[in-house]
Amino acid sequence: MREFRYERAADPAAAVALLAAAPDGAFLGGGTNLVDLMKLGVATPDVLVDVRELTSREVADLPDGGLRIGAGVPNADLAADRRVRERFPVLAQALLAGASGQLRNRATTGGNLLQRTRCGYFTDVTKPCNKRSPGSGCGALEGVHRNHAILGQTIAGSDDPATCVTTHPSDMAVAMVALDAVVRVLGPDGEREIPIAELHRLPGSDPSRDTTLRHGELVTAIDVPALGMPSRYRKVRDRASFAFALVSVAAALDVRDGVVRDVRLALGGVAHKPWRASAAEYVLRGMPATEASFAAAVESELEAATPLRDNAFKVPMARNVVVRTLLDLAGRDTERELA
């Protein structure tokens, strides 16, 4: 780990000012990802501005029945919040499916959104990775990529500077994407709101950038609008706990009289960002809530999949768990659950 300064600020605005003046600096939240990456030499900030205790630790009610979640709320606290468990089970379940108790105690809501990929080439500074070291190539494209992306990758050859086939590791972010959350940020130029679907990006021609945040912008809160339908999170992983997703599904479904009135669907473990399955949602609205409809919908989403040599299994895996999750939700009485 190279030399750096550790700074605390009096308030969020001061933290933003500190970081704005430090082009190679970084905010430090719970540190569960950043400290690890610094030890590995992957992240090399020269200044750490500690915001772990700076942003709000409150979960506040919004007028519409939604919640404003302070960026400093620890993952464990958020998962345990009664309102989250009752109104947004998908979010509580996603949080509990991530990491371990110790890490959830430490990790913040804001930091969780900004986790970096766990690709083995990204975390090994001796190997090529366009995300870590732009222009060095992509080790994973023709290497070990069993748990890499099947959607939205940039595949332009191992040596091409745009190639990136990795996934976003967060479970919570997948739920947030399904929930149409809005990320509130404070930057050198003031506050702005970013719909979460616009926060994370695909690698495109610049895999080094995970999000659309600008340098110095600090996540201060996440607004989750009211949902009004049952929801759940299903995660498939290599072992029973404490592993990143092979495939995960965040889903919410509103069925009335056997017809899908509304649906939210996002996939984890399949792309460089939490993948909102908009095509599937579009196909499903107004369709009978049957296994055949669900299968047709998810097929329409996965038509775009471009699996790599060793991860084609994710296509049927995603199909199966989406269908199963939607069937599970459809089997519930929406009106009773909302009552």
């Binding site: 190279r2 500690d50 105690n105 404490f242």
Partner: protein, 156 residues
């Protein structure tokens, strides 16, 4: 950087701490508290689990500066006046200790669980201890130990 932290009820002050040090490093190398173990440095094994302001965390991922002014309890702080805590006793009695290297972190995690949930289900135990890898025991006796400690604590 100067670090002032209350550890196991005693205020510790150490100087010349480099910003890149972790809380685990400070505990082991600068405060003479080697009970918390260094085994992966990535938060993946839980051997370094300590209480930070009352919550179990992986000390290896807490930057030293983040511990300034906070309260830390390590495995060395679980016993009171030399008497083993019931969780510690139960780990020995149930055969939950083998090589002992994962044990300090497991004890803090189990201690926390029983503080929050006096009579945990097996599922709750497994979930609470999911962040603590053990390579020797196959976990069965660790579950037994937590059940035993819970039963003991339930007695008036």
């Amino acid at each position: 950087m100067r670090i002032t932290t209350t550890v196991n009820g005693t205020e510790h002050e150490v100087d010349d701490v480099w910003a890149g040090e972790s809380l685990l490093y400070v505990l082991r190398e600068r405060m003479g508290l080697p009970g918390s173990k260094n085994a992966c440095e990535q938060g993946e094994c839980g051997s370094c689990t300590v209480y930070l302001d009352g919550e179990p965390v992986c000390a290896c991922l807490v930057a030293a500066g983040q511990a300034i002014g906070r309260e830390v309890t390590t495995v060395e702080g679980l016993a009171t006046e030399g008497e083993l805590h019931p969780v510690q006793e139960a780990f020995v009695e149930a055969g939950a200790v083998q090589c002992g290297f994962c044990t300090p972190g497991l004890l803090v995690a189990a201690h926390d669980l029983l503080e929050r949930v006096p009579d945990p289900s097996d599922l709750e135990i497994r979930e609470a201890l999911a962040g603590n890898l053990c390579r020797c025991t196959g976990y069965e006796k660790i579950l037994d130990a937590v059940r035993l400690a819970a039963a003991r604590q339930a007695r008036p």
